[in-house]
Structures are given as structure tokens and as C-alpha cells.
Symmetry: D2
Subunit: 308 residues, 4 copies
């Protein structure tokens, strides 16, 4: 087990990396390298692979283990790498964690197990059991829309006592909840509280959040880093200006097509249009058809004009 740092090193913009794929079973390695260099050049403070945005649960384990190794190797210590080990089977979470440790990753991220419905006491038991067995520090990952359970503020507080649990990524979108957790944890500022949805990153950082695990930073890393810095500096005018661009991305890139998967399809499609990587999506998701892709391209070009 690692020692918990006095002041967390985890702050800022940590993109939840999409996973560039050639097909169901094969990484787009060239795309992966290009994407990694692109976001690091943009100034991000770390990378998070194998999250929801990375289609983690759709990938074979061979591919997940391979992605961990390839990413850590190519990053080569330039920024910390966080690795998603979310799984319904703790044995598989631990195997992924060991690969991550061997490859040089810095920390792990795990959402609650997402098949059985658990109560909060069962959730506490689960996370303590898991954290006891992980070779790297762990971020909790709140994702109620996908896991069917909210990690309640009292549960976060209880789990924060574990030496190996160092923070929370909240993707609920519910800042009333997030602010309650922030308040609950006010005595332990080294416990890092990140939000997922980029639409709320600026305001949570203004009020004490640690940063954003924002999908859009795959495309425009510098924009999100600049927005984070503006928020840290309390520069409200700059925050408003850059936040408006993020909202433009949210409306123009993530809201095409039907179904809950429009965010992922739009993001991966845009990265392809930006020349960074392939836009193949692993089953059960599928990339956009031509009509939506054309609309996406048109929106993306408009947004690019405003950003550069």
C-alpha cells in the first residue's frame, strides 16, 4: 500500500482518454500515440484510461491490459497515468491494477460494481475489500446512471479513511451532491474531488473542486487547461468566456443522434475528423452514420474557428 500524500498531486485537467481502435480486437496504436502526445502538448495534468469514455467495459481483457502497457510506455512519465479498473469481478480489477503498477501507472479509478444492486454498507465493504488488495492508490468513481447506485456523501467520508483511497471522480452531473461531498470532506483537502461532466468543471473548481476529468480535453486540451487555470485564479470574465466555448462543444458535438451514447459517438467521431485517430467503436456502440457525421463535421468546423 502507498502512503497517502499530505497534499495531493492530483489537480487540474485529466482527460478520460477515448480508446483508439482499428476494430473490435485491435488498438489503433498510431492513433493512441498521436492522441497521447496531443493532450500532453495541450498541458493536461494527467491521463485517465479505461473509463466510460474509454469504452472500458466493451473491451476484451487482453486489449485492456495491452492498452495499459502501451499508454504508460508512450507517456513515459511525462504526466501521471490513472487506470480504470472498474469491474464486476474484483479478481479482474486486481489483475488490471497489477498490470498498471508494473507499467508505471500512478493511480487507479473504480466505479461500484454495476450488475448487482448494492446497499451503501455493502458498497463500503466492497471498496474496503478492493482497496486492501490494490497495489496503487484508488479514486472512487461515482457514476449512478450506469451503476445504479450513488456513492452517498457519508459513504465517501467513511471510505476516505482508508489509506489507499485518495479521491473521488463524480460523474453524476449533480453539483448539489458534489458540493455536499466537498463540504463533508472540508477537513481533508488532500482528498481530491474531480467532476466528470465538462459542463460543470469551471464552477466546481471555483468553489474548491480539484479539477475535471473532461472528455472534451481529448479534442481541445489547452481550452480545458486554460479554463481550469482561470477558475483557479478566480478570473470570472475569462471563466465565462471559455466556459461558453465548452458549452458550444457540448451542444454541437455531444448532442447529435439519439440515445445516451451520443456523447461518446460525437467525441470519437470528432477526434477522427481532427485527424488524430480512428473512430471505430466497440460493440455494443457504433459510430455515426453519414448524416450525423456530416452534421458533426459542420459543427466541429464552426467550433474550431472560435477556439483558434
Amino acid at each position: 500500500m502507498t502512503e497517502k500524500p499530505e497534499n495531493s498531486q492530483y489537480r487540474g485537467i485529466i482527460p478520460p482518454m477515448i480508446t483508439p481502435l482499428k476494430n473490435e480486437d485491435e488498438l489503433d496504436l498510431q492513433g493512441l500515440h498521436k492522441l497521447i502526445d496531443h493532450v500532453i502538448d495541450g498541458g493536461v495534468h494527467g491521463l485517465f484510461i479505461l473509463g466510460t469514455t474509454g469504452e472500458s467495459t466493451s473491451l476484451s481483457y487482453a486489449l485492456r491490459h495491452g492498452l495499459i502497457k502501451e499508454t504508460c510506455k508512450h507517456v513515459n512519465g511525462r504526466v501521471p497515468v490513472l487506470v480504470g479498473v472498474t469491474d464486476t469481478a474484483t479478481a479482474e480489477s486486481i489483475r488490471l491494477a497489477e498490470t498498471a503498477r508494473d507499467a508505471g501507472a500512478s493511480a487507479l479509478v473504480a466505479a461500484p460494481p454495476y450488475y448487482f444492486s448494492l446497499g451503501q454498507p455493502e458498497l463500503i465493504e466492497y471498496y474496503n475489500y478492493l482497496a486492501d488488495r490494490l497495489p496503487l492508490p484508488l479514486f472512487l468513481y461515482n457514476m449512478p446512471s450506469h451503476t445504479k447506485i450513488n456513492i452517498e456523501p457519508d459513504t465517501v467520508k467513511e471510505l476516505s479513511k482508508h489509506d489507499n483511497i485518495i479521491g473521488l471522480k463524480d460523474s453524476s452531473g449533480n453539483t448539489a451532491y458534489f458540493n455536499k461531498v466537498l463540504f463533508h470532506m472540508k477537513e481533508t483537502p488532500e482528498f481530491s474531488l474531480f467532476v466528470g461532466p465538462e459542463e460543470i468543471m469551471a464552477e466546481t473548481v471555483l468553489l474548491g473542486g480539484a479539477g475535471g476529468v473532461n472528455g472534451g480535453a481529448n479534442m481541445f486540451p489547452k481550452l480545458y487547461v486554460d479554463l481550469y487555470n482561470a477558475a483557479i485564479n478566480g478570473d470570472i470574465e475569462q471563466v465565462k468566456k471559455l466556459h461558453a466555448l465548452v458549452m458550444e462543444i457540448s451542444a454541437g458535438i455531444y448532442s447529435l443522434g439519439r440515445f445516451g451514447s451520443s456523447y461518446l459517438k460525437g467525441l470519437k467521431g470528432a477526434l477522427n475528423l481532427l485527424g488524430i485517430c480512428n473512430d471505430y467503436m466497440a460493440s455494443p456502440l457504433h459510430k455515426f452514420e453519414k448524416e450525423e457525421k456530416d452534421q458533426l463535421e459542420s459543427n466541429l468546423r464552426e467550433i474550431q474557428k472560435k477556439i483558434h
Copy 2:
């Protein structure tokens, strides 16, 4: 139908008033007057009666109509009065609205009908049908946890075209949603966007929201007005300081007891402890038992020390 104002008069802190009751069938009139004077003295920008915090759906219609008249009479034009007309039967919503108009209220607020599950097109049809028949301008009221439907950003945009629909109160707590609506409506700033949960009021005002319909303003109106003003002025240090007090209220007053009703029980109990009004709650809710009330009192006294 009224003419839609170029610049909305609706901004700031508009407390969702609790309904002081002597028993199931009778208003605590003295308490009501005291409460009204208390919040107006605190500088609030309007009052909202017959919302969720006002236990509207638990009150008989005779009592609801009576409350509208008494409130408007006692307010006597000092601030605008907004009246909740949320109902599953449009005929009853219209009757409440007519009483509100006759009594001198300024605007109406309606959540979606909450028994049948509607689709978004049915929701649009419903609101247009209702707004056509209302004698005062209407705020939409998004309350998905209670009504089982979210008023989607596109639906808000579509409904905002109606001359008699002038704003939205969002009580979802989801600021990712709220920011999407703000962005969608950026061309029509006279359409007022309020949030319900006080835990997120400051940050939404910082980024363009119109204000808060915050329960805590029943107790400490000046605190919420000061926080609103700090946010409007972009005074981040003051925002952080006052927001921390609001979070203390949220943790100490609203989170006792089990079940979703802890917010309401805590708020009404605290108003009783502050000497403002009775704490009787209409069925199906019930006030706290002694143990929780003692805890509430202890927390309240701590908070009072920090506020004054």
C-alpha cells in the same frame, strides 16, 4: 395574456415559502405574517408560495386559495408574489391562477403533471394548453425526482416561444443540465433561469443564472441575498465564505432523519425554533420526533452563531 417584458423583472432570491399550519385544515395566520415580514425585511426579491417546500400538493384547495389571498394581502405589493399552480388537473391549476390574479400576484409556477408519465411532445402540448389559459405569466418548474419527467433543454426552448412562459425554475440539482439550458437560451436573456437547491445557487449565478428559489431563505433571507449579490458582483472570496455557511445549513438542518422528507422537516422545524411559526406538517409528512428535534436545535444554534 400579458406582454413578455424585454428585461425580466425576475432576478435574485425568491424564497419558496413554507406554509405555516395550525393543523391539517387551518393556516397559522400569525406565523404566515411573521414569516412574510421576516423574509421581506431580509431583502428578498420576491416570494414563491405553494411550491414543494410549501407542501402545496398536501393542502386542500380551500386552504390553497386562502393562502394565496392572505399572502398577497399581507405582502401588499412590497415584492412580487409567485404562486404555484402545479396540479394534475388543469382545471384546478386555472382556478388557482384566477385567484392569484385577483389577489394581485405577479406570476405563476407549474411543474409537469405528476401522475401520468408523459413524453416530451405531450409535455409541450400540456404546457402550451395551460399557458394559453392562464391569466398571469408562467414559470416552468423542473422537478424530475417528484414528477418522473425531465423538461429537456429542447423542450424549454420550444416552450419559451409562448408569450406567457417567462422562465424556468430547475430543482433537479443537475447543473450539467442547467448549464445546457442556459446555453440553449443564451439568445433570450429575458427568459429567467432559477435554481432550486441552495447548494448550487452561487455557482449558477456566477455563470449567468437569474437567482435562487432557496428554502433556506425562509430562515436566513439576508444570507442568501448577500450571497446572490456577491455572485452577481463576481466577488469570489465573499461567495466562498457565504456559500460555506449555506453548506453548513444544508448539512446541519436538512440531513437529519431518514427519507426524502428530511429537508422539509428540518426547515419547518428550524422556523419553529426561530420563533417564526408553527411546525405542523400536513399529511403524508410529519414533523420530527424529540430526538431529531433536539439535534436540529443544537445544529441550528451553532449555525446562528456563525451567521450573526
Copy 3:
């Protein structure tokens, strides 16, 4: 309070009556009389007005009270009349109940209050409070899709101890739940357990259920009575034959159009096509457009051929 009967008089087919309307504010009285005579002639064992199928929550209170009086007067003791008093305000439930008692109705039906989310202990408190104040015996009404709460088997058992609570109508469609309640209540067979969805009436009666509160009995009362009798008699071949017709009605009449309201729109439209009453629906619902109505007519004619 009434005395609880040793052997319940409530068994068989009790149609949840649609409410014939001329417009938002006016009963279609001629249609109402025709519909009442039609179902009584078909042999039903009782009538249930002001349920979900009766659009109760969409009707003004004046209209609800009027409907109770008109129905009881026209039924004139031929069969028992059950009256829905489901409301978020207990004061209004009690007023409806008093009108029902004065008009000669036999029993009341109430779903949980459907705005606030309650826990099971709060639900027990609510029903005991209500049943204490009702002048007629009460059926619980389980309708989780609309009320956001399931009346758990233990809660049913607890509430069945109240002298004024005599049965349950379960509209969940979940017969695993229904069978658990049946088993829980096996020592008190006088507590009547009805199901709502006609698709499961036959099988629940085969295994001990009291009968069905089935919408289709508005159209074809004799079919449902015959199916009930076949099930009571354990005549499996006849059950299968008649159940297949009910499933044909379910598929052909209730499944047109989009949204959860297709059942109600189909049923009311079919009654209009059968020449029984007007098909006006109260806001927020609306009757079918021409295309769906044509399809409905075609399906209805096919079904009629098979029934007669």
C-alpha cells in the same frame, strides 16, 4: 367505521370505468349511463370509478364529486360501486369519500400519495391516518409506475390489521410480487386481492386471487366475467381460449401510438367506436389522431368478430 366482513363480498370482475367526457369540464352523461348499463348487463360484479383508467387525477374536483353522485344514482344498487379517492391531499380524499358515502357507494380505493417520495414506515402512517378518517372501507391500490413507491408485502400485512382496510388492487403487473402478497395474507382470505392488468387476471384467479379490475371490461364485460368464471372453476381449456382473446385486445387496442398513455387512448377510442360514449380525454392526455384511430377501428372490428 364499518365492520370487516368475514367473507369479503368483493370478488370477480370490477371494471375500472373510463370517465365519459364532453369536454374538459363536463361529463358525457348519456355516455355514462350507457356505459354503466353496458357493463352491468355484461355481468360484472361491481364498478370502480375515479381510478387511473377514469383519468381521476386529470378531473376537477367539482367533476369528480358530480361523477360519484351520477354513477351511484344510475347504478341504483344493482352492483357495488367502488370510488377512487387517491389524492396527494388527505383532506380532499376525505371529502370525496364523504360524497361517496352519501351517494351510497360501497367502498373506496386509494393509491399512495404520488408527489412526495415516502418510505414504507411513512406509507403505513399515511394509510392508517387516512383509513381512520374514511366513512367507508378502503382498498389499497399498488401502482408503482405512477406513484414511485411499491406497497411492500410486509406493509400490506401490517395495514390489513386496520379494521377499515379490506383489500388490495395491484396494478404493478408483477405477479411475483402479487403471489408474495397472496402468500403473506393466506391466513386472512377475507382480505381481497385484485389485479389490474387484464393480461394476468386469469392466472392470478387460478392461484387464489379475488378477481380483476380490468379496463377491457368496459368494452366486453361478458368476456372478462366468463374468463373469471372459467378460472374459478379451474377449467383450463376455457381459460386458455378466453385469455387468448384478452391478449388479442391487449395487442390490438392498447398498443397503438407512442407513450405510456396508449392503453387509455385505445380503450376510450374503442368505446367511442362501439357507440357507447364520447372519446374526449382530459388534459394532459389527448385522443388519437386519425391514422391511429383508423388502425384502432380495423383492429377492433377483427376482435369483435372473434368475440361474438
Copy 4:
């Protein structure tokens, strides 16, 4: 791909086998053999491994592949073996399926992917994609409480056209839904429709269902086989008598403790008390504490007296 049989061989009682474990990583092989012999001696028509009852999603892949081989080897053709391949990653589903084919299993079972929320068209695409690649015929598995999606009757009908999709196991508990699917599929009786919850097995078989995938058949296989046969023969008196025993099991074994996992904990605990196998549960679930285990034992002994 296999040829679809004219008359399905899949009928009757197919226990969803619990997975006997020594610890997180190791099968209780002796227990597994004993359990297999126990249920086959009881007359069951097949076995289903790696379902929800088998804690499939909590097991490492190594263990899952091992279980498939061990089970098929020990069954040795005495009854058909169905293998659960439910997974969020199709690549892993296919790998499990290949092991199943090599080991001599008869068919596969897959619930929808349970992390991303899909729409019905996406679900159709998913199942067609999967079935195209599977070396054995597939049963759909409806489990909305765990997967967040209901396989709608129209979707079942559409998917039934695929040569490699041969039936449905419905664990929703909602027989209104199940009867709609039965009616939808009435022209293709070779498409087998099973239910999961044993509380509804008898009634669905009475009305045309193919049988039950009932957890209780791990403990008392003969009881469930007898009940199935009584239902097939339309022997209502025998059905009622045996169904009452099943309800006693449901109430006495599956309803102890808190949380949704009480069914699994009770079932596995009872198998241990019956001397069949270990009761270790894989994380995130845990076996009962002493108090609940004592209550379980007392209930089990009562039930045993009534069965033998």
C-alpha cells in the same frame, strides 16, 4: 451456426446453478459435482450455469472458463447444459461461448450489456451482432432490474428471426410483459419462453410458458419438476399444493436480511445447510452472519418437513 429445431428441446425445469466456491478464486469442485448429481437425480431437464444465481459477473474469467469445462465434463451428456455468456464485452462473450462449444454445452444465454444504456434499436443490433458470432444457439435473457433495459416484445419478435436465437428467459417477474411476449410469439411455438422467478413458474406454464429457470431447484429439484408436470397436465389442485410450497421457500429462504442480495445469500446458505456445497460468496456479495443463518436454518428445517 446451428439449425433451429422445429420443436424446441428446451422445456421444463432448468436450474440456474449456484457456483460452489472455496474462496474468491477457487471452485468447490466436490460441491459442484454433488450439486450437479443432486439436481439431475431430481429430474431436471437441463442446467444453466453462469447466470445471475451463479454470480457470473463476480467471477474471474479463468474461473468461468474452468466452471464450464468442469460442469460439462461431470454432466457428461445426461442433460443439456446452458451457459451464460452475458458480458459487457462481446469478445469475452464469444470466448466463453467457444469454451462452451468445445466442452459440449448445448446452448448459450445472454442478458443485454449492462453498463451503457442502450435503446431498443441498439439492443437489436447488439444481439444480431453477437448471435452471428456464437457457435451455439442463444437464449435472450431479460433482466431489467440489473441491466437497466427491458427487451420489449417487438424486440423479441424481431430477434427471433435470427437463426441462432431460440428463446427467452424472462426474469422481470412481470407476467403482463411475459404474456405479451407469449402472444407476440404465438406463431412460433418452437421459440422457448422461460421465466426466472419461481413464484410465477406454475401460472406461466399453465398458459403456455416453456418452463422455469428457478433457483429453488438447486435445493429441491423434484418439487419444481413435479410442479412443472402438474401445470403441463392442467392438474390445478396439484399445482396449488406444490405452488404453496414454492411460496413457502420464497418467504422463508429468500427474504432474510436486507438488500437485493437476500435471495442469493439465502439460497447459497441453504445449500450449505443441506450438506451439498460451500456457501462462500464472491465479492461484492457476502454470506449471511450468524443471526440470519440461524433463522435460515430454522426456516429450512420447517420447509423440509413439508416437502418430504
